[in-house]
Structure formats: C-alpha cells, structure tokens
C-alpha cells in the first residue's frame, strides 16, 4: 500500500467506510510510516475542528422571516408564469398528450390529404368511367390540396412541439446551468426525439418519396443517438468503462441505420408507385381505400403518441395509463387496418394472347367482376403481366377467351357483371364498347338488341364521363340504290349519307357538315397523314359496286340526303337524278336509279343579273360556295333558255334552294313553261320548293321545238337559290 492509498484508506476509516479487509493493510502501513501517522493525526484534529465550527442558527423569528421571504419571492417571481408555461408541456402529461395529438394529428392528416389529392384523384380525373362506389366528384377535392408551405410548417411544428414535450427545454436549461445530467433522462429524451423523425418526415411519405423518407428518418435517428451519447459522455457522471460500453452499443444501431439509409435508396419512387396506385383505384371502391388508409393513419398516430407517452420526458411525470390506452387503441386500429387492407383485392392485370396480333388485358377484382380491355387501351397499366397459367381464375379466363374468340354472349355477360360489381374507375372501356358498334358523332349505333342492352346497362350503372352524352340507337333501316350514267353504271363512286336534321335550315346544316368533312378530308389528304376515307364516318359512307349499286346497311330512322364525293370536292347530288330527302324508317329503303348528268348532258344555269329578269328585290351575289340568288318575299326571277339548246324533247330541271324565315303562306317554287315559236304554251310544270332543298322536275315539249322559260317564285320568306341545272334528255 502506498502513502496515497493509505491516506484514502484512513480517511475512509475515520468515516467508518473502510472495508475490513483493507483495515489490516492500512494498519500495517501506518505502523511502518511516520508521515502517514502524522497525517492521520492532522486529519483527525481538523475533522474534529470542522465539526466544532460555529454556525449562526436563526431562531423562530428567523424561520418566520425566512418563510415570508420565500413566499414573497415566489409571488413576485417575474418569471414564475413563464417558467410554468415553458415547463408544463413536458412536465404535465395532459399538456404533453394534447400537444402531441394536435401536432402529430395535423401532419398525419396533411400527409393523408396530400396522398389522396396527389395520387388517388388523378386516377379519377383520367378515368372514362367511375363506378357507383367510386369518388363522386374528384374535382371538388382539388381545393383541399395542401400547399408545400403547410406541409413544411406541420413538420416543423412536429419537431418543435415534439422536442418541447420531450423536455428539451429542461435538458438545455440544465446544460446552461452546468448541472450534471442523468444518463437515463438524457436517453429517454433522445429516444423521444428519435420517435419524432418518422412523423416529421410524413409529408415525404405523402408524396411517395419513400427513398427520401427512409434516408431522412435514418439520419435523424443517427443524429439523436450521437447527440445523446455526447451529452452522456460530457455532461453526466458516467465511469469510463460504462462509456466504452455505451460507445459500442451506439455503434451497432448506427451501423444498422447506415444499412437502412443505403437500402432506402433502392425503395420505389413515385413513378414506380403510380401504376400500383392506378390498379388499386381501379379495383377498390374509394370508401374502402380511404377507409383502410384512414384507419392505418389513425393507428400510426395513436401508436406514435402512445410510444412517446411511454418514453419518460425530461422530468415529466404521469400519463402512463393514457399512453397505454393509446397504445392499445393504436394496436387495435393497426390490426383492423391490416385486416381491411388485406381484404382489398387489387386487380392483377392478366394478358391473354390469341395470336401475335390479338391480345387483351383482363382486369378483375374478383371472379364475379371481370373486366377486359383491348390491349391498345391498356398499354399504360402493364403493372404485372402474368400468363394465363399463373392465374387460374376461371371467370377471367372465360372473359378473355370470349373477347379474343369473339364469343359475344359470354362477353356481354361478363361486361354486365362488371357493371354490376364495378369497384373503382375504368380506363379504355369506351374503346372496347365502341368496338361493339358504330360511332356517328354523339350517336353510338349498336346493331343488336343484346349489345344495346349491355352498353345501356354499363352507362346506367356507371358515372360514365366519355359516353354520358352518347345516344344509343339500333340500326333498323337500310338505304340502297344504284347510280347510272349515260355510258353505263358507275363503279367506285363514293357516296355520303348526310343526316338531315329537323328545322328550317336542314339543308344548310347538311351542307355545312359536308363542307366541314370535305375540308377536313382535304387537309388530311394534303398532309398525307391519313387516307381520306379514314377521315369519314364509315357507317355513312358507301362506294358503288360494279353495277353502280350501293348500300348503307345500318341506318337509324330519320331523314337523309345523299351526297356524291368527287375526287376534288364533295357535293350534293343536285347534278344527279335527285332522290331528295330520304325518309328511313324500319326496314330497307330502295331508291330509284340515280342517273348522273355527265359533261354535256347538262349545264348549270348562270345565276347572274344579266340572264335573269326580276321583279321585286332580288340580290345576286357570290358566296363561299358559289353564286347565290337571294329573293325577298314576293319576288320573281325569270329566264328564257336559248332555243338552240332546247329542241324537241324532254328537259329535266334540278333546283337547289332553301327558304328562310317562317312558313310559306304563298308556296315558293319553280315554274317551267315551254312556249312555241308563236307564243303558245306547249307544256308547263311546277316544282314546289322541295322540303330538303333539292328538287327536280321534268318537262317535255313533245315533238315540237320551243322556248323554255323558267321562273322562280319566292314565297313568304327569303328564297335562296344556290344552284339550277338543266339537262336535256334525248
């Protein structure tokens, strides 16, 4: 034993704290060491002297004065209220719990809202149809989009309030006051701060930035652990061996966190998650999806608050029972949420292929809910491509087979079943439905009653955005006929059947449609991007056959006019033997042979002021589509056809004219008269203004030559004459 050790030993011995086994060694050293004996004597002497030090002890009055001073000191403490306010959030469990619920709840709600608005709603806005169990009005949610500033603020709030309720102000206060820290308190405070990280980073999770979320959580946790260790090492009474053990214990989680941070870089990002979300939205009712997400978010909130409550805050007390209740509630919610999430059956796309060219993707939430799409409409959703052998669900395979092999009854049954059980949103379905019929503007014509019934059921059961304005109709009529020319039947002529709407301007409307189509076809042909034929509605187009025959096989009831498409431009058939307005009802309509006027067979009569003798107000002008004669009510216009062109025979006069404004009190029309050279009337014929604007009359002079006079008479409205053609027949 050295002298230093001996001094420490007899110091402890004086205090009665020396273990008996050291007593003998000390005595032995004392016997041999004069210096230590002297020191021992000094120590005993000074110890006695210290114990005998006089102290001023206040009497009863002093006690009273002390009490009053202390009470007054508390009352007049300037910082008393502030101190209480600062301390209350981490020292009183109710404050702690309330503030944590508020801050964590805010950030959780914002993250949930952000994920719904940012990820679920776009799936709805892009969908063609939404099932009844889908979200009714996705656009209304757009106003709830949380701003980035709000999310950032909520994260900052979580960190601020979280650090406060964990007792960081108390810890910092003690550090400032140079007090010794207790390792346990430091550890629990830091553990509380660690738990805040996953919540503060929740906005990243709401944006599906999983990699950033993992990285931020790992870094935050590492930072808290290192800070905690530093505080314990420098500000807490901790023996060196224990500190070494602490250091080793710190390295293990840090290594784990580094691994987690690296692994999180591989986690999927928003682009990878989007298809999965799209499939979820398609296959799961919105209420189920939002319900499961809400329950899981609530579970996270309760578990977070419960765990934070279980970790003691700095100098905080109480609240364990409430935290336990929160934990139990959170575990309950978690279990319920997992069960609910497990009950969701995301559709797994199934690609069925009949040949290299024909394939379809089949989606199904359950066996009772098959849904299939043409591959072109479903290209964006190839999340999981599984061969038929890997997914044996019979219903899905039957539907796919029915589509590819065109087993129509089975296919229609599958579609009807899907409409009944549709869970979410639909993409590409309208393209598929269109393949069942023929589209003509807003009208979708379905040739069979079964198809009509199925598509009608789909529209009725779904909030169908694409087809909502569609008029379903069945084709119950047909129009057929043949075109002839002087040199025989005409093959390869392209015809258009134009719908003639009701109303005064029926012909103008038809003309406008024709001109629009013509312009469009011209542009496409000029650009070379598409065949002209492709630009036109095939259901209303026909090409004459070898005998000049043509057929429009599916024509819904209504009124039509026939147009002939020349190579250069489309025109109404007023230069042909006009069928006029074609009335289609149930059943076929067979038109009389249409004889084309070719070349010298006919000529358009000029609509200029020199050729016509007029009474009343008649304006002659050049419109976009050629000359127009506009005759005010009561006006007449007369022309004498040169007799050189009209020898004995028959004339066919074709009129393209419309009358504007009001019903005609006085019938408007065309009057044709043939006069002999001596001024007698040989023949006369009238053509009332035709309903469709197109009219034709024939007049014959028998075997005599004469003059042909054509008179146009306007009625109560303005008559607009757009074309007048004379054909001299043999």
């Amino acid at each position: 034993m050295t002298c230093d050790e001996c001094f420490e030993a007899f110091s402890a011995s004086v205090d009665g704290e020396l273990p008996s086994h050291e007593q003998e060694a000390m005595n032995q050293h004392l016997d041999d060491c004069q210096d230590c004996q002297r020191l021992r004597t000094r120590l005993l002497s000074l110890s006695a002297e210290m114990k005998g030090q006089p102290f001023a002890e206040p009497g009863p009055e002093g006690v009273k004065a002390l009490v009053e001073t202390a009470l007054a000191g508390v009352r007049t403490s300037r910082w008393g209220l502030l101190r209480q306010l600062v301390r209350a959030p981490y020292e009183h469990w109710l404050w702690r719990l309330g503030l944590r619920l508020a801050s964590l709840g805010t950030v959780t709600a914002l993250a949930a809202l952000s994920s719904i608005v940012g990820w679920l709603l776009p799936c709805y806005s892009g969908a063609e149809a939404v099932s009844r169990s889908g979200l009714p009005d996705p656009q209304a949610w757009a106003a709830w989009t949380p701003s980035p500033a709000a999310s950032l603020g909520a994260s900052a709030l979580v960190l601020l309030i979280g650090a406060w309720t964990c007792g960081l102000p108390g810890l910092l206060g003690d550090l400032w006051g140079e007090a010794r820290l207790r390792p346990g308190q430091v550890a629990s405070t830091m553990l509380g701060l660690v738990l805040l990280g996953p919540f503060a980073a929740l906005p990243l999770l709401g944006q599906l930035e999983l990699a950033s979320y993992g990285l931020v959580c790992s870094l935050w946790t590492a930072l808290c652990l290192i800070a905690g260790f530093a505080l314990v090492a420098f500000k807490a009474p901790r023996p060196l061996p224990r500190l070494a053990l602490d250091f080793i214990a710190l390295m293990l989680p840090l290594a784990g966190l580094e691994w987690l941070a690296r692994a999180s870089m591989e986690w999927p990002g928003p682009a990878e998650c989007r298809p999965t979300i799209a499939v979820l939205v398609a296959s799961v009712p919105f209420a189920s999806l939002a319900g499961a997400a809400g329950v899981l978010a609530l579970a996270a909130l309760l578990l977070g608050c419960g765990l934070l409550g279980w970790v003691p805050s700095y100098r905080g007390t109480g609240g364990r029972a409430a935290s336990t209740l929160l934990l139990l509630g959170g575990l309950g919610c978690l279990g319920y949420g997992v069960v609910r999430a497990g009950a969701l059956h995301p559709i797994s796309p199934l690609r069925a292929q009949l040949s290299g060219q024909r394939q379809a993707y089949l989606l199904a939430a359950s066996d009772e809910n098959p849904w299939l799409l043409p591959s072109t409409a479903y290209a964006g959703l190839q999340v999981e491509v599984a061969g038929p052998g890997k997914d044996p669900r019979a219903a899905r395979l039957r539907a796919a087979s029915a589509y590819l092999e065109w087993d129509e009854p089975a296919l229609l049954r599958a579609l009807t079943s899907w409409a009944d059980n549709a869970p979410g949103v639909a993409w590409g379905l309208s393209a598929f439905v269109d393949s069942l019929g023929y589209r003509n503007g807003p009208s979708l014509e379905l040739p069979t009653e079964e198809r009509q019934r199925t598509v009608g059921h789909l529209i009725a059961e779904l909030r169908w955005r694409v087809l909502s304005g569609t008029v379903l109709s069945g084709a119950t009529g047909s129009v057929s006929g043949a075109i002839e020319a002087a040199n025989g039947p005409r093959q390869g002529l392209r015809l258009r059947l134009l719908s003639l709407p009701d109303g005064e301007h029926a012909l103008a409307g038809a003309l406008a449609t024709l001109q629009e189509e013509n312009r469009w076809a011209g542009e496409l042909a000029a650009s070379g991007s598409l065949e002209t034929d492709l630009s036109l509605d095939k259901a209303r187009s026909a090409v004459t056959g070898p005998q000049g025959e043509f057929l429009f096989p599916r024509v819904r009831p209504g009124r039509y006019v026939l147009a002939l498409l020349s190579e250069q431009k489309a025109s109404l058939t007023y230069n042909a033997s006009l069928p006029g307005a074609i009335e289609v009802r149930d059943g076929p309509v067979r038109l009389a042979p249409i004889r084309l006027s070719m070349g010298s067979e006919g000529a358009s009569l000029p609509l200029d002021s020199k050729s016509w003798r007029t009474t009343g107000t008649v304006e002659l002008s050049i419109g976009r589509d050629g000359p127009v004669m506009r005759m005010q009510p009561g006006a007449t216009a007369t022309i004498i056809v040169d007799n050189e062109t009209f020898h004995a025979g028959k004339a066919r006069i074709k009129l393209l004219a419309t009358e504007r404004e009001g019903p005609a009190a006085r019938p408007a029309g065309l009057l044709a008269t043939i006069f002999s050279r001596d001024g007698r009337t040989i023949a006369s014929a009238e053509l009332p203004l035709p309903e469709a604007g197109l009219g034709e009359l024939e007049i014959s002079s028998g075997d005599r030559d004469g003059y042909l006079q054509i008179a146009l008479l306007s009625g109560a409205g303005t008559l607009e004459v757009r074309g007048l053609r004379l054909e001299v027949l043999p």
Binding site: S11, P54, L66, T317
Partner: protein, 195 residues
C-alpha cells in the same frame, strides 16, 4: 429515507428509530405542501433550515451568501415541489438545491475574492459569532483556499455527517468517486491549513 434521517439529527448520535420517525414527518409535510397546504411549508422550514444553513455555510463560508442561497433554495422548493415524484427523497433533492444555489452565488461573487477579504483581517460577519480563536480563523482561511467541490464534500461529510452512499445519491456520482473526493478534499485541507 436515510437521507432525511441524516438531515434532522446529529448523525453521529441519532438513533435509527428516531430518524425514521423524522423522515416520515418530513414526507408527510412534503405531501401536504404538494397538495397546496402552505402551513406545511413553515413546518418544513422549521425542520430543515438548521441543516440547510450548516451545509450552506460549509460550502460558502459566508453568512450572507449562505442566507441568500438558503432563501433561494426554499423559493425553488415552493416553485417545484409538485415535480418531486418521491416525497421521501425530499432531503436528497433539497440538499442538492442548496449546494447548487451556493455554487451559483459563489460563482457570481467570485471576482471579490473571499480569501483576500479574510486575509485582510476584515472577516465575514457570522451574525455576532466572531472567530474567537486563531485556529478557527486558520481553518476558515484553509477552507476558502479549497475549491467549491472540496468544501461541498467536506460539508456533506464532516458537518452534515452524511454517509458515502448518501453523498453519492445527493451528488449523483459513483460511490468510489465519493471516497476518493472526500480523501482528496481532506488532503488538500491539511495542505492548505499547514501553509
């Protein structure tokens, strides 16, 4: 529990049964004070002020400073008594407060060296009890030459008579550290006294 025992008795002579009784009384007073009974505070002060003064004077070696520290300590007790989880640990808690207050005030007054004041022969007032002998003055000088920590160790051990275990609990340091610190404080006191 044993801290309170040491607190209210002359440790060297107190019996265990009596100490337990005193400790229980302090605990009840703390409970009443935590419930808002201000009359309990007066009783608590009467029970504890003597020990507080002795300890404060041991650390500060200045009567006025000791008074201020004890007064601050009682204000702190009133402000924070509700946060004391275990009322039977009051004595440990209160002793720690007194020591911290003394150290804080000493730090604030450090520029006016107490050692110099003593050596100039002015001697701090002890409220009528002047240093009567040269030995006492010599002891005071020696104590003032020590660090706050050494005086705290000596005050807790020599004056208050706390056991090493109690000191470890009060100062929140390991038992072995207490043993060595007490011995070192004593060694330095001897050296300072013999200078």
């Amino acid at each position: 529990m044993s801290v309170a025992l040491a607190y209210e008795t002359t440790v060297m002579s107190a019996g265990l049964a009596g100490a337990t009784e005193k400790s229980e009384e302090v605990r009840r007073l703390v409970l009443r004070l935590q419930d808002g009974d201000r009359t309990a505070f007066e009783a608590l002060v009467a029970r504890t002020q003597r020990s507080a003064y002795r300890l404060g004077y041991s650390v500060a070696q200045d009567h006025h400073l000791c008074q201020d520290a004890v007064q601050d300590a009682y204000i702190s007790v009133l402000q924070n008594i509700r946060q004391l989880r275990d009322p039977s640990a009051f004595t440990t808690w209160f002793t720690r407060i007194v020591i911290n207050r003394c150290k804080k005030l000493l730090k604030q007054k450090r520029p006016q060296s107490l050692t110099e004041v003593v050596e100039q022969g002015k001697g701090p007032s002890t409220d009528g009890l002047e240093e009567k002998t040269g030995r006492r003055l010599q002891l005071k000088k020696a104590l003032l030459r020590l660090t706050d920590t050494d005086r705290t160790m000596l005050g807790l051990r020599e004056v208050q008579g706390y056991s090493y275990e109690e000191i470890a609990e009060i100062l929140d340091i390991p038992l072995g550290t207490v043993k060595s610190r007490v011995a070192n404080a004593r060694r330095r006191l001897i050296q300072a006294y013999d200078v």
